[in-house]
């Protein structure tokens, strides 16, 4: 029981990170119906910017961890957003109305290019990030097994909850959210009604990238080490989360993220850690076959 609780805590932490990335996939899919393969790389770049940000903070002598974390989060969100924006502007926008596979192929191109760009300028070796927040407390002990919650885990879950709340508010209550939902429903009609579709799509990418950057910061803090390749696996898992939750659905992305976190952690804890990534892929395939609309998604009506 204690072991189970401990794994559950770990799973929720990991799930929060996947959920944040998954939102970017789900939003972009909702609005323009494409899988943004490069989204995982934006997450990776967010993690790198965070690493560099933390190093700059320590050089500037910012000793307080909360200040450093907030600063780094803001920097990572701001500068990763530029990546999200630039990718959409340069690689996807010119392809609207091109043939079916064009945006997908372009997205894969962007993904490969970004990965290798970071590898070239930052090197291929894993980068240790050091420990920014340490310590924690014992939740309870059972049969000589301590169930621990680290401060870091609390920070990760809190940051995720705050961002999710803010984000849900943004989509439900602001004019940006309304424009976005209008574009999801019918892009042509939205344009006729005076919605600036290009701008709305750009903003969607910017928001998705900002959340992915937060995930990058949290990932760096949680694992303490990153490399140029982390976007690939995390991206696939987050995409799985988005599909599992129901692609296009924001609460679905969060739920899916949590479930993927749970599955991965428990698989590793109870079966084998070698095959934990296989488990994630296996679930993706199973969900797509048996319930392609995911848990919270709406069935898609084929338009003929």
């Amino acid at each position: 029981m204690a072991y189970f609780t401990q794994q559950l805590i770990n799973a929720i932490t990991l799930g929060a990170i996947y959920g944040l990335i998954a939102i970017g996939y789900t939003m972009v899919y909702g609005i323009i119906g494409m899988i943004n393969f490069a989204h995982g790389e934006v997450f990776m770049i967010g993690a790198f910017i965070s690493l560099i940000g933390f190093m700059i903070c320590s050089m500037l002598g910012i000793g307080s961890a909360p200040v450093a974390i907030v600063l780094v989060l803001l920097i990572a969100m701001a500068f990763s957003s530029v990546y999200g924006w630039a990718v959409e502007r340069a690689a996807y926008r010119p392809l609207r109305g091109s043939f079916r596979l064009a945006p997908l192929i372009s997205a894969i191109g962007v993904s490969i290019a970004l990965q290798n760009y970071v590898q070239l300028v930052q090197g291929a070796r894993p980068k240790p990030g050091g420990q920014i927040v340490s310590g924690g407390f014992n939740l309870f002990s059972l049969d000589g097994f301590d169930v621990r919650v680290s401060w870091l885990q609390i920070i990760i879950v809190l940051v995720t909850i705050v961002l999710m709340g803010g984000f849900t508010w943004l989509i439900a209550r602001t004019s940006l959210g309304r424009r976005q939902r209008a574009c999801e429903q019918d892009m042509k009609m939205a344009a006729l009604l005076g919605v600036d579709v290009d701008r709305t799509i750009s903003l969607t990418f910017v928001l998705g990238a900002a959340l992915a950057a937060v995930a990058g910061t949290l990932f760096l803090m949680y694992y303490g080490v990153i490399d140029f390749f982390i976007g690939f696996l995390a991206g696939i898992k987050a995409f799985t989360a988005a599909v599992l939750g129901g692609i296009g659905s924001l609460p679905g992305a969060m739920l899916g993220g949590l479930l993927i976190g749970v599955i991965e952690v428990f698989w590793a804890a109870y079966f084998s850690s070698e095959y934990k990534d296989v488990a994630a892929f296996g679930i993706l395939v199973l969900v797509l076959i048996f319930r392609p609309t995911g848990l919270l998604g709406k069935p898609e009506i084929e338009k003929v």
């Binding site: 910017i49 690493l51 970004l114 095959y275 076959i289 392609p292 084929e302």
Partner: protein
């Protein structure tokens, strides 16, 4: 002088636009490029190596490049060309830039700018020429030539290559490598180019073929020629097993599932020690034999070497030449098979599915089965190529079957022009051959592949060779009846 239809942008807004682009570039680069993290010792972790000079130069280049593109878009051809030439000169000059890469960056930017500036001009000239009667004939011959003639010329070159003076160890190695990718490209072209299914895990089937040969030969003593068809069958079976559940999904789901499947196969190979020997890989894989004779200096007990059989002195290159002809043959089989399939109902149904799946359903075509055949046939050729790879390398490990390989094959297909056979050859020579000749650029190869995929989708989505010859004609073409 200027074409009035072109956009007219005042100089200030052009500058503003270029400045904005430079600003975006600065924001993109400031952390990732400006602060390079490097290892120092074990305890202290990381330190910075600052690269602001590189970043500065890159931003200036981007500013000028964007300005040049605006000029070109406005039809101000000469200023744009002058700017491009100046950039090429700066890149080629011995001027001290912070890094060697920047020389390439500046020069390449200049080349692209000049191409962009000259493009409408060249395009116009070609179109004007095509309107004259002689032009029409030339155009027709040109299309025909690319369609048929060029293929034969390339085939002829490929056949005689080993007997030319260039055929040293290095060139033959490169030839085998390029042909392997040509074959893989042709195989993937069935799936992506003809059937329009984006398969991002193609390398998985290559791996199945390679491990099939490696295991059957090292553990059961089967020869290359016996395993070859089996390997194709295994790979095709994997294709069907994977394809059956996922091929009814939307195209982009298929892409990510195949991507996942490619990784699953690799992870299984890494982790299933008993069967695959894990990350250490499998060694001492026997090479292919020629009528039972081996390519080696001394024959195994009861065997015969090829040099003994032919009565020629042993030379290491013989093995390479033999491998070269095997892969040439396999690639040709792939090509001919594909060409025939394209003219059969199933091949036409592949292309029809690529064009419009809904219409296919309305015509009574079973989309899942049709996709499945494309997927299985594509997988089969990857399986053949995989066993060839194992026989050539004599050692395989999971490292050879990463996503990067799938990405390289896909970019060959995309660059060549989806569905074009000759395009794949040109793209393979370009993408595999060039980086081998320019070793120093090797590190930038994948970066360039990624960027190339984007640029092709944006500017030339039909690839280098975009011409599609109908699979059948009601009215035979007047000029050539050889077809």
């Amino acid at each position: 002088m200027r074409d009035p239809r072109l956009p007219n942008m005042p100089g200030t807004s052009m500058l503003k636009d270029a400045a904005l682009t430079a600003l975006v570039a600065a924001a993109l680069g400031i952390f990732i490029v400006g602060f390079r993290t490097v290892d120092v010792g074990s305890r202290t972790g990381l330190a910075f190596d600052y690269h602001f000079a590189d970043l500065g130069v890159a931003i200036v280049v981007i500013f000028l490049g964007r300005l040049g593109l605006s000029l070109a878009a406005m039809g101000l051809r000469w200023p744009a060309i002058a700017l491009g030439v100046a950039m090429i000169a700066a890149g080629a000059s011995p001027m001290k830039l912070p890094s060697g890469f920047l020389h390439w960056f500046v020069a390449l930017g200049g080349v692209l700018l000049v191409i962009r500036a000259v493009w409408p001009w060249a395009d116009q000239a070609i179109h004007a020429a095509a309107r004259t009667p002689t032009g029409r004939v030339v155009d027709k011959i040109g299309t025909e030539w690319v369609g048929r003639g060029l293929g034969w010329v390339l085939l002829g070159l490929a056949v005689v290559m080993p007997f030319t003076p260039f055929a040293d160890q290095k060139t033959m190695d490169l030839g085998v490598l390029i042909l392997t990718y040509v074959m893989l490209g042709w195989g993937l072209n069935i799936v992506v180019g003809l059937a329009g299914l984006l398969d991002l895990g193609y390398v998985a089937f290559y791996a199945v073929g390679a491990y099939a040969y490696a295991l059957l030969s090292t553990q059961h003593g089967l020869g290359f020629w016996a395993v070859l068809p089996l390997a194709g069958m295994f790979a095709a079976t994997f294709g069907i097993l994977l394809g059956f559940p996922v091929l009814r999904l939307r195209g982009d789901y298929l892409a990510i599932v195949t991507l996942g499947f490619g990784e699953i196969i690799r992870l299984v190979i890494i982790n299933w020690y008993d069967f695959t020997n894990g990350p250490a890989g499998i060694g001492s894989i026997p090479g292919p034999t020629l009528f039972g004779a081996v390519f080696a200096e001394t024959a195994p007990a009861g065997g015969q070497t090829v040099s003994e059989m032919l009565g020629i002195p042993f030379h290491g290159i013989h093995r390479l030449i033999f491998l070269y002809y095997i892969i040439l043959l396999l690639a040709l089989v792939t090509n001919i098979f594909t060409q025939r399939m394209r003219r059969l109902p199933v091949g036409r149904a592949w292309e029809a599915l690529r064009e419009d799946e809904t219409a296919c359903k309305a015509l009574g075509i079973n989309p899942t089965n049709t996709k499945l055949t494309a997927f299985a046939v594509g997988a089969m050729f990857a399986g053949f190529a995989g066993s060839f790879f194992a026989a050539k390398q004599r050692f395989i490990s999971p490292e050879s079957f990463t996503f990067i390989e799938s990405a390289i094959i896909l970019s060959i297909v995309v660059l060549g022009g989806m569905g074009s056979q000759i395009g794949v050859v040109l793209a393979a020579v370009l993408l595999i051959g060039l980086p081998e000749w320019f070793r120093e650029l090797g590190n930038y190869r994948m970066l360039a592949f990624g960027l190339a995929m984007v640029l092709i989708m944006v500017y030339r989505p039909r690839g280098l060779i975009g011409h599609r010859e109908p699979s059948i004609r009601l009215h035979p073409v007047a000029s050539g009846g050889s077809g």
